[in-house]
Amino acid sequence: MTPSPRRIVSIFAWLVGTVLAIVAGASSATSLVEFTESERYFIESHGPWPPPVVVDPGNRFSGDPRAVELGERLFSDVRLAAVEGMACEFCHRRDRAFTDGLVVGVGRQVLARNTPTLFNLAYNRWFGWDGAADSLWAQSIRPIIAQAEMNADAGIVRRLFETDPIYRTALSGMLEIPVGELGDDAVLALAGKLLAAFQETLVTPRTPFDEFRDALLSADMARAARYPLAAQRGLKLFTGEGQCSLCHFGPSFTNGEFANIGISHMIPNDGVDRGRLAGMRKLKESVFNLTGPFNDDVTRANAVGTRQLRFRHTAFGEFRVPGLRGVAATAPYMHNGSLATLEEVVRHYSELDMDRLHVHGGQILRPLHLSDEQIGDLVAFLESLGATPPGNTSQSGQVIEKQQYDGHAEQ
């Protein structure tokens, strides 16, 4: 299709970079891995970071500082749950990059899926491992009313908004209709939209990878060479032979869609997790989807994906391609938390069982049979997608204060 000007610039930058690298001589050549034109394309696609701020047209409170503040308050408000001491933050802990560090989430009951991070959600199209929600606000309603999680209902939410003076006062200035007069679904949608306004502000910081990418594109080879060689070699595998970038595409390292990488999706003692297939069904049934009455985008242009979704048998057992920024801080991995470390993840890709993937024709995924050194390189690259070593959250500019819950199950 039409060659993008961005692309022409990238080829130009590459030419300049090559010339500079040659001119710079042997010393810098040894500290820089050589990338093919295609690898460079993918490297470029993984930025810039941070991306421009986006506003969700389906959420009229998106970007509204009052809503961000209320949403943040709601996020750690235990009165939003009908379960002693439970709040969003109980599972999405600030000190753990908004995950819980557990294999699968634990609310009133043990859940079937791993608790994902809440960073960089503003750039997503689908939410949840199965994409059962098409907006961040709709996704935020689910845990409030899920019996296995917070087990609350619209009545509890309405009462909270009416009785707490902070919510009451702020909301009276933001709504045309008093909260007390909103219907049940509208109250839930309101809570979801406030929570979403807050979560949209959670963005991972710039990383060593971003420094490298920008240096490479601007042909600043001395700066680029500061990126460790192991990470560079890992990046080459990621964007090249490994074909990881095809799915983990773009600035957030996800194309936002779904795939099956051969992870078992049996639920212990409880049948099977249908993944995207169930997600599509739930999405269509939900009153909160973007084709419904609570979408604030009157044009409904943002509902195109929901309207035009195509049923596929392959959706059974597919899960959303997770973004990889800050991934070192969010172990364990996969929709069911079945892989404990990044090394295990890379080994999974290295020794893929092809019979589990129903493929036809050219395959994107195939066992890479990596050496231990290559595995180390890929892990080094994945770790470079976080600003600081795992466990240290001072990296995240938006993380406000730490709050711990007693009795939280550690594993």
């Binding site: 595409f249 779904f258 994906g305 035009q308 979704l309 195509r310 036809h360 050219g362």
Partner: protein
């Protein structure tokens, strides 16, 4: 979505001008698929086809130089990977021989095949093109 104003003007003019070559063209930068007597010209509404984002195509379809009358369907797939799109595009008729195709999405970079299927009283006609989308 950006709609270029000159395009809107052009598309309003087309139906009223009846010349021998009355084939609607979606505008500058359009690609053409020809399978005589059928011609499809199409362009992404925003100018470029993005990767991993929804986009809209505007297309002009003609038969023997006149606006096509019949049913138009659009699909796309990646022949090398054996998969199609995760979305089912919707084709809306804008006027004689002019169509707007929404809900397209190429969820990976690489070689995509774009297929226009035209149905008229003479049968089914398939026009396809492949291109490297980046």
């Amino acid at each position: 979505m950006k709609v270029r104003p000159w395009y809107v003007v052009l598309s309003m003019l087309v139906p009223s001008v009846a010349t021998a070559d009355d084939c609607p063209r979606p505008g500058e930068g359009a690609r053409q698929l020809v399978s005589e007597p059928y011609v499809v010209s199409f362009v992404a509404e925003s100018g470029v086809i993005p990767v991993g984002e929804h986009f809209t195509i505007v297309a002009g379809v003609c038969r023997a130089g006149m606006p096509f009358v019949g049913d138009v369907q659009v699909s796309a797939d990646m022949p090398a990977h054996g998969h199609g799109m995760n979305y089912r595009p919707e084709v809306v008729t804008l006027g004689p021989g002019r169509y707007r195709v929404s809900g397209m999405m190429f969820h990976m970079p690489g070689n995509w095949r774009l297929v226009f299927t035209l149905d008229d009283e003479t049968g089914r006609h398939v026009l396809a093109t492949e291109s490297d989308v980046r």
